[in-house]
């Protein structure tokens, strides 16, 4: 979720916002590849569009798949939460509140990735 306007162009934003925009662009570019792979592998090449349980487990037994899916989760979470941060910052909070928002979203991001990794382990355990 990228702002339509680079932060550097916004006089009220200041240079501290620039890394956020660069992060959005870089993670967005990575998502073009990772999301494309995810969509093709999980949906387009599967006849019905969704793998059944046995097919999901077979798929996840491949370590390369796990690395790619976790990388996808990390990048998509980073991109999404950076976008949420940009939206929240548009409300004009104080700098202190903005720092708290950044910290909170970092915790949410770490928890999201941890949940995803734990979920992969739980799926393989359930098989």
């Amino acid at each position: 979720m990228t702002s339509d306007q680079p932060a550097a162009a916004r006089p009220e934003a200041g240079p501290r916002m620039v890394p956020g925009f660069v992060g959005q662009v870089l993670s967005g570019a990575a998502l073009l590849v990772l999301l494309g792979l995810h969509m093709i592998a999980q949906h387009f090449v599967v006849p019905s569009g969704l793998r059944d349980f046995a097919a999901v487990v077979d798929w996840l037994r491949n370590p390369v798949v796990i690395v790619l899916e976790v990388a996808f989760l990390v990048v998509v979470t980073y991109h999404a939460l950076l976008g949420v941060r940009a939206i929240l910052f548009d409300f004009g909070f104080s700098e202190r509140t903005e720092h708290r928002i950044t910290g909170f979203l970092a915790v949410v991001g770490i928890a999201t990735v941890a949940y995803g990794v734990a979920l992969v382990a739980a799926i393989l355990d359930a098989a």
């Binding site: 979720m1 990228t2 162009a9 569009g49 999901v56 998509v76 939206i87």
Partner: protein, 139 residues
Amino acid sequence: MASTTAEPRRPAVGPARRPGFVGWFDPRGRRLGGIAFLVNRITGIGLVVYLYLHLVILALLAQGPTAWDTFIEVALSPPFLALDVILLAGILIHGLNGIRVGLVGLGLVASRQRALFVALMAIAALVALAGGLRIFTAG
């Protein structure tokens, strides 16, 4: 990142919109760049909501084959497939518009960003249409 390439979020003239989140939905005086900004944020919010819904639903896999395979039957019903088409359209619109935002932010196509936006949205519509047909005819 060239600071001169960005579109103004709000027009310099015309009626003032309400600030913050509510102002996004106020169409008064909005130009194409503003529409692109609005579309990017709305699709982005939708995709964030979908991301977390998706992660919650994937937890069914940890409950074993019965829970997941029952869900698949529901997910392949026409209402769910319609939601898939909306999701695909959202991904295409956000992704292609994001490419434009990135290019403009890097100062590469600032003078042609409006034409680029129209072209990319046309591509998004065509691919979403083709994908929608594929989604409803697969299997």
